[in-house]
């Protein structure tokens, strides 16, 4: 692209100059600079954001993308893994780790001779921005079961997802040997990352299904506080999520620790549940507000429980045994009874909204790409979902896909790679060399 296409300088530079100039003069000057800027903007100019340089660390005890605050765009891609021999599985894990390390860091992909296909899809330009990207690698039960040498090392509670009562599972949207959760500030960054993985490891990974999703972005609040994002039913989703900044709480709810009976290699990992939950949004939009609120158990506008004023108020069901305030079959009540015993069933949710297209009947294919993490799959999601079986919300939702996975512990540093502890536990000697 030449300078003549769009004028002498890029918009980004214009903005930087405008701000720089305004710094020394009156605020009105800034206004003028900004409106001058707008006049020069062209229809197909890239939208500008200050967030493309946001970066999450790849290395650490735990993988990123679990307690990392959820950005605006997310994706789950599930793969079948072709590698069977230990050396090939090691190559898979090492290559994945290298690609993720690069993509999360950002940088310049190698430039090849132009008689060859380029090394990178190029959709983010010659300098790949990190854009808050995380890529989180998890393994399905089939990954272990189809490899004799790994089968004995399968996490104790990892199973193949079975249909729950209201499920209408589509086999083409279920399970997989390996799940990749990709999240970042923009859908294009996620797509770039996925295309990189597909291009880099065609002999090791075959894409099985994927689902993209989004989270509505809100303006910052003057007091700096945050509120939970809304799902496609228009309700706040995540108000009761455990505090991800509380390390002790995360050790109890999310991470496999030395206190559990899971294999030692799995420590610092976690169980991931993915569910593609279709929402019948036309029908929901034709449901009286009062009924919507009774089904969920919260005020739609504020997100507050019926016994509170804000979304973070905690309902006390012991004072409402008959369900006169919050119906006994309200979604939030069935999902979390808020008793001492129900604390064993807490999960960390990290969902995205999805919108795919139009059904055969001409209705919107929309819903929730539900993702959650927990240290114990059975006490966590499976128990909670069984409590929800039969809830009135079922009339408006239909889980159609997803799977259960185990999220690997994090790579400790650049001499480490994802899955190393598993390979070592299986007796496959690996060397740790700085890449």
């Amino acid at each position: 692209m030449t300078a003549n296409d769009k004028g002498p300088v890029t918009n980004r530079r214009n903005i930087l100059f405008g701000v720089g100039a305004a710094g020394g003069v009156l605020a009105a000057g800034l206004g003028k600079a900004m409106s001058a800027e707008r006049r020069n903007e062209q229809v197909t100019d890239a939208p500008v954001s200050d967030n493309t340089r946001q970066r999450q660390p790849f290395y650490g005890t735990h993988q990123a993308g679990i307690i990392t605050p959820r950005p605006a765009a997310g994706m789950i891609a599930a793969f079948d893994v072709l590698a069977t021999a230990p050396e090939d599985v090691e190559r898979l894990f090492r290559t994945l780790s290298q690609r993720i390390a690069f993509l999360m860091q950002g940088g310049e992909p190698p430039v090849f001779d132009d008689k060859l296909p380029p090394s990178d899809s190029g959709i983010l330009g010659p300098l790949v921005p990190p854009d808050n990207l995380t890529m989180t690698v998890s393994l399905g039960s089939s990954f272990f079961e189809r490899r004799d040498w790994l089968a004995p090392h399968k996490p104790a509670r990892l199973s193949r997802m079975k249909a729950f009562r209201n499920d209408a599972l589509d086999a083409d949207l279920c399970h997989g040997d390996l799940a990749l959760q990709i999240s970042s500030n923009t859908p294009d960054t996620n797509i770039h990352a996925l295309r990189d993985i597909i291009k880099t490891m065609p002999d090791l990974l075959v894409l099985r299904w994927k689902q993209e999703g989004s989270v509505p972005v809100l303006p910052p609040k003057p007091d700096g506080s945050h509120e939970s994002a809304r799902n496609f039913l228009g309700f706040r989703d995540g108000s009761a999520n455990p505090d991800a900044n509380n390390t002790a709480l995360m050790d109890r709810i999310v991470w496999v620790t030395e206190n559990s009976d899971e294999p030692a290699w799995a420590r610092a990992g976690t169980y991931q549940v993915v569910r593609i939950i279709r929402n019948f949004v036309e029908r929901w939009d034709r449901t009286p507000l009062g009924e919507q609120e009774r089904i969920i158990g919260r005020n739609k506008a504020t997100g507050a429980p019926f016994s509170g004023a804000t979304e973070h108020d905690v309902p006390d069901y012991s004072k409402d045994p008959e369900g006169t305030v919050t119906p006994l079959d309200a979604h939030i009540r069935l999902a979390n009874m808020r008793t001492h015993a129900s604390e064993a069933n807490l999960i960390l949710r990290r969902p995205f909204n999805y919108s795919n297209g139009v059904s055969k009947s001409g209705q919107l294919e929309q819903g929730l790409l539900f993702i959650c993490y927990q240290a114990d799959l059975e006490k966590g999601f499976i128990t909670v979902q069984h409590q929800l079986d039969g809830e009135p919300l079922e009339e408006y939702i239909k889980p159609i896909g997803g799977g259960f996975f185990f999220t690997l512990p994090g790579p400790l540093d650049d001499s480490d790679f994802l899955g190393r502890t598993l390979l070592e536990a299986a007796g496959h000697a690996v060397t740790r060399v700085r890449s």
Binding site: L169, E282, S361, G362, Q363
Partner: protein, 275 residues
């Protein structure tokens, strides 16, 4: 906090401004007693007819009389489809009587796939009654149980009135495309029964709102009439033509009518003062 309160207050004002007709008619709960009683009779008649028709249908299946069983499939389902909002209150039976292949992960091969559509799959897709006898027996047991449970059921008024819209939602979401009877293509029989079942509820409560909601009543009636006129074009001596005979224009017309009816009938409960 103050900002939030002000915002929700203004949203409330906005919704009132946009929906001036939202002032609801004055209907006393007692006014609903007779329509609900009449509807109970309608439901009972249909569930008894379902038992009788299903007996003849499953007998043909078990006798291996594929042609006879095929000819009874469309009509047998109609009494179920007409009272679906009530039948669905028993979700275990609804699953085993009327679930479709795509409700199950292994689709047609799934052992949980039973009932009408499992038999339909055998008869129309495989042109055979082989292996269907146990499915037929189970279906007969299930509809008999349904009839018994319906006889013992006290109909909740909000479920009855809401049922008018529920039937339209079912058609709009998964039937208008011809997915329901995908092997036999007898979907128009189901449509007819769904629309009749919805209209029955509307007609029963209509006198309660006719005066205060005249425009609404006229509009809903006109849409039901449009559906009837369209479906009548596909009538045969003993039922309806197959779904693939439905013209694209008529399919769109039905789709628009069903969506409009779903929108309008979704306000019926509120208009009658029901939660």
């Amino acid at each position: 906090m103050q900002l939030k309160l002000r915002m929700s207050a203004s949203l409330f004002a906005l919704s009132i401004a946009v929906l001036p007709g939202a002032a609801l008619a004055e209907v006393s709960p007692l006014d609903l007693v007779q329509p609900i009683a009449d509807y109970k009779i309608y439901v009972s008649e249909n569930s008894e007819k379902l038992v009788t028709d299903t007996k003849a249908f499953t007998d043909a299946v078990k006798a291996g009389d594929v042609e006879k069983a095929k000819s009874l499939f469309g009509s047998t389902r109609m009494s179920y489809e007409a009272i679906e909002p009530i039948a669905e209150l028993f979700s275990d039976l609804d699953g085993s009587i009327d679930s479709r292949a795509d409700d199950h992960e292994m689709a047609e091969k799934d052992p949980e796939f039973t009932g009408f559509h499992r038999i339909e799959y055998g008869l129309f897709e495989k042109n055979s009654a082989e292996g269907l006898a146990p499915v037929a027996d189970k279906l007969m047991v299930d509809v008999t149980e349904l009839n018994k449970r319906i006889a013992d059921l006290t109909l909740p008024p909000e479920k009855v009135v809401g049922g008018a819209a529920v039937l339209m939602e079912e058609v709009a979401a998964t039937k208008i495309s011809g997915e329901e009877d995908r092997y036999s293509h007898t979907d128009l029989w189901d449509f007819k029964a769904n629309f009749d079942g919805s209209r029955k509820i509307f007609d029963l409560v209509r006198p309660l709102i006719e005066k205060d909601e005249a425009a609404f009543v006229t509009k809903v009636s006109a849409n039901f009439d449009a559906v009837d006129t369209t479906l009548a074009k596909y009538r045969t001596t003993d039922g309806y033509q197959l779904y693939d005979k439905l013209s694209e224009d008529d399919r769109k017309l039905l789709a628009a009518a069903v969506n409009t009816l779903a929108e309008d009938l979704s306000t019926l409960r509120g208009k009658l003062g029901l939660n």
